[in-house]
Amino acid sequence: MRLPPFEYQAPSTLDEALKIKRGQGAAAQILAGGTDLIVNFKHRLFSPATVISLNNIAELKRIEVTHDALVLGAGASLAEVASHPAVNEHFPILVKAIDSIGALGIQRFRGTIGGNLLLQPRCIFYNQSHYWRMSKGLCHRTGGKDCLALEGSDSCHSICSGDTVPTLLALSAQLALAGGGGKRVAPLAEFFTGRGESPWNIMPEEILTEIRIPLPWAPISWSYQRLALRPAVDFPLVNAAAAAIVEKGKLEHFRLVIAALGPAPMVLREVEARLKGAAPTREALDLAQDAAVRVAEGVVVANASASKEYRIQMAGALARRATGEALGLA
């Protein structure tokens, strides 16, 4: 399959890249590992005027530990992140999440952590060939006026499918973005809009530069859960991440995230609020499961490779497992 025509630029500094972005905005698209972007090009989901490769920009590939955070350059490859000693020391959950992505041969060495976060949300009516989509008809995301997965819906429900997303969110990651007005830092939790047609709070001229994960003040116990129809080469049907800090038998910190359901990952704040401050008990499991099912019911539509009902049920099952494992209740 061929790609649409475009110009190619591979600047060696972030500034140069930003300059091109400033000039062209959305017409210039960022290529990190390309493992998502190129497929989308082949399907003619995008036909940019220019492709800006981040490959030569060393500053975007740095991984470092500061006094209070682990800083991952957006352009660091998944292999570099997963093998970095600091990542393994502080956040083995992230290694597990990365290990579960697609397959080693697909994105381990080319795919980047930034690209995984900014993976275009997926939908079984959207991630199809040009012929397929044209014969099916347009939807919100392709310039139409309806959603093929949920007729009459006024927005797009495509699915945030990046495997590292719930994990980074559970770890309270922050994003650093560079754009016209300089650098800004935003919590990952506020990055998602919940609308599939424009899933992130990012400006057309902005580039994601870093992902910062605050170093925990005490050891974290964690869990990453993922369900797919195949153990490799398969996007998650639903995934869940939990991070907990238990001190002196009391749950001091807890965060439970479910994702791959709709355009945004969902933080189950209510579970967090109910559990914090007390000793974890098995009740937490039912609580997490019920909350996840309720939340999932509100966002899941029939647009993945399993039915809506199954994905909702499984959101509950995985939230339960993640909670159980993170709290040592399994």
Binding site: M1, R2, L3, P4, P5, F6, E7, Y8, A10, L31, G34, T35, I38, V39, F41, K42, V51, S53, N55, A79, G102, A103, L104, G105, I106, R108, F109, R110, P231, A232, V233
Partner: protein, 161 residues
Amino acid sequence: MQKHLLTMRVNGEQVELAVRPNATLLDVLREDLELTGVKEGCSEGACGACAVLMNNEPIRSCLTLALEANGAEILTIEGLATGGRLHPLQEAFVEQGAVQCGFCTPGMILSSKALLDRNPQPNDEDIKTALAGSFCRCTGYAKILEAVRAARDGDVGNEGS
């Protein structure tokens, strides 16, 4: 669309050619360099037939812009045997019956090579993880697993191919 100059080493040889920015590495290897051992099975990153090694790491040539390989070292299946002598992995694939239709074979062998270079003593789980991105519809993978084990253990050259 302006063509760009692409310089890379392919199977040990320096190549320089002008390519369109929208050409994939797969297009350039198959069409310009006529290295048709690089197979196109899905063109979407899923099947692994197009795998090549870029700086010793397995990548999907169908998902890689040719220009992204500028300055890189590329190994395709054509570059694996040296002086008419098969690489031990190639021998093992032949001897263990790991080749049926052969369409997945180049990608399988290259992915296995990257694994053995990285980790000379992989266990079964390591092998499966390294090959999980390569589909084979013919063999059920059993003999492929055996072939990689045999290459790992130096258990090749027994049957003389």
